[in-house]
Amino acid sequence: MSFVLVQVIIGGLLLGAVYALFSSGLTLVWGMMNIVNFAHGDFVMLGMYVAYVVYTLMGGGPLLGAPLATLVLATLGVVVYFGLIRDIMKGPMLAQILGTFGLALLLRYSVFWWFGANFLSMPPNIVGGTYAFAGLRIEASRLLAGVVALLVTLGLHLLLTRTSLGSKMLAVAEDATAAQLMGIRPDTMQAIAWAIAAGATGLAGALIANFFYIVPTVGETLGIVAFVTVSLGGFGSVPGALVAGLLIGVIESLSGYLIGAIYKDIVVYVLFLFFLWFRPQGLMGKM
């Protein structure tokens, strides 16, 4: 019994690391440009489909699918930035929300139209079976996803805090005009932020594609998860997203195990509303 519980918690942590990875993309963009990407979950969905196409067309596993999905989504991020975000950023709130929300619909239903509404899945053994460790059984695909996501999220944090690129991005986030006077191009920095944010979703999508159900509407659920993670961790904070992501992964797994699989999404949504009521600044962030 307790073994099962430990296994559930480990599964939650591994999934939570992936949540943290794609949520740190949302938090980066939100913190830097004060714009919320309502298509964020659908970016993850696209990452999953890229991995799926790589597998079905070329027979490639995550070793090929994950880098390719990262690259495709990062490119999409830059295109979206220059084609849409740069202009709606200065517009009214209605335009900002409608713009990214419309993008979400466009992506979701293009995939729906092309691939159909059926649940797709990757073959279970593509990453190589299950590890047994001290009586616990952990699927290799989940372990891979969790570990890679954790490392990349930490790497992202180091990139933002320890490199000159990170400092430049921070400078633009702080005051774009001042940064421009110091010889930093806000446009370039913001485009890089979008590339990183969307690339993170692509990687996350390719990683969970190995064990998650693949369906066009999955982005809606994942988008809400990302939003819950960001508002829990405090917006703009990658470490906050990491802690919150792991926490949400565990809460979701536990509630799925203890109450029932259909209720795990409800638990996360209610948690979100609860937080908005009582602690809108998040667990550790400031408003």
Partner: protein, 333 residues
């Protein structure tokens, strides 16, 4: 003056429409346009006038639809008796969502509305008493006129038209009341409005609750016309999307914006559905998504604002002239 002429021409056309175009398809189309115009006008109160983009408005639509069908299926009453219950449910829910989120930045509100709508859909889908995934049905054979179950779309059309007129009248009255002035001030600059003593959070909340009540009426009417409600047609996020895009396309924050949006998009969807069949469903929403992106990028004010801007130089000068003479006249004595 010209405005009144236009208004009466449009009103006359709306009243005469089902007599001019009297095939069942056209009458049903007309009823749907008016129905969605009600829902989009209701959304417009919070989304357009208060500037708070609710993406989960379907949850209030669902309150009305489930209350109307529930009144019949659970208590054997006419679906009409469900309408007050739906309004109470919707307003209560709006308060629960609105009180915490309307204090925060608009993004939180938008996301919270999605979360609430999805939560309700999941809960209802798993609740046996509300028919779970199958939903609830209305009266198959009308027992009396109060069941509002007609074969023809004609009675629905006029019923909806009357409700639409009431909805627009309420909206118009609101914009010219103290609340309307507060809302305009808050939309321009919430900080400035607050510093001048406008109760920003409370005013936005009232707008949200009013909008929720009217949306729930639209949901009840929808369920009565179709005779059933299930989680997809009553609580699916796509209904929210339709409502929102109609208001935004026509012109959010303009009285007749949602009407223009509904008059364009409902026929578009019905025709594409009848041409493309089931396969068209995905494509319709691809087009919807593209339209929303294009509006946000190029014309956030909607189509009607484009028309109004074209006619603006004239009306603007005349307006300022009259206001000048008005103030002069009032100062004269």
């Amino acid at each position: 003056m010209r405005r009144w002429i236009w208004l009466s021409v449009v009103a006359a056309f709306a009243i005469a429409y089902p007599l001019l175009l009297s095939s069942p398809f056209q009458q049903r189309l007309g009823a749907l346009v008016v129905l969605y115009a009600i829902a989009a006008s209701a959304w417009n109160i919070v989304g357009g006038y208060a500037g708070q983009v609710s993406v989960g408005h379907v949850v209030f639509f669902g309150c009305g639809a489930y209350a109307a069908m529930g009144a019949y299926a659970k208590f054997g009453l006419s679906p009409l008796f469900g309408i007050p219950g739906g309004i109470v449910l919707a307003v209560g829910l709006a308060a629960i969502v609105g009180v915490p989120t309307l204090r925060l930045s608009g993004h939180y509100f938008s996301m919270a509305t999605i979360a609430v709508a999805e939560t309700m859909r999941l809960i209802v889908t798993n609740t046996e008493w509300l028919g779970a995934a199958v939903g609830l049905s209305g009266p198959t054979v009308p027992r009396n006129i109060f069941d509002l179950s007609f074969l023809s779309a004609l009675p629905y059309y006029y019923l909806f038209l009357a409700i639409l007129a009431i909805t627009l009248a309420i909206t118009w009255w609101m914009t010219n009341s103290r609340m309307g002035f507060y809302l305009r001030a808050i939309k321009d600059s919430e900080r400035a409005a607050r510093s001048l003593g406008a109760p920003a959070s409370r005013t936005k909340l009232y707008a949200y609750m009013l909008s929720a009540a009217l949306t729930s009426v639209a949901g009840a009417l929808y369920a009565m016309m179709f005779g059933f409600v299930d989680p997809e047609s009553g609580l699916g996020i796509l209904i929210s999307v339709k409502i929102l895009i109609m208001a935004a396309l026509g012109g959010a924050g303009l009285l007749f914006g949602p009407l223009v949006g509904a008059a364009i998009l409902v026929p578009l969807e019905e025709i594409s559905n009848s041409w493309l069949g089931g396969k068209g469903a995905g494509l319709t929403f691809v087009v919807y998504g593209a339209i929303i992106v294009l509006i946000a990028r190029f014309q956030p004010g909607g189509l009607l604002s484009l028309l109004m801007r074209r006619g603006k130089p004239k009306t603007d000068t005349s307006k300022t002239d009259t206001s000048k003479t008005d103030t002069e006249a009032s100062h004269a004595p």
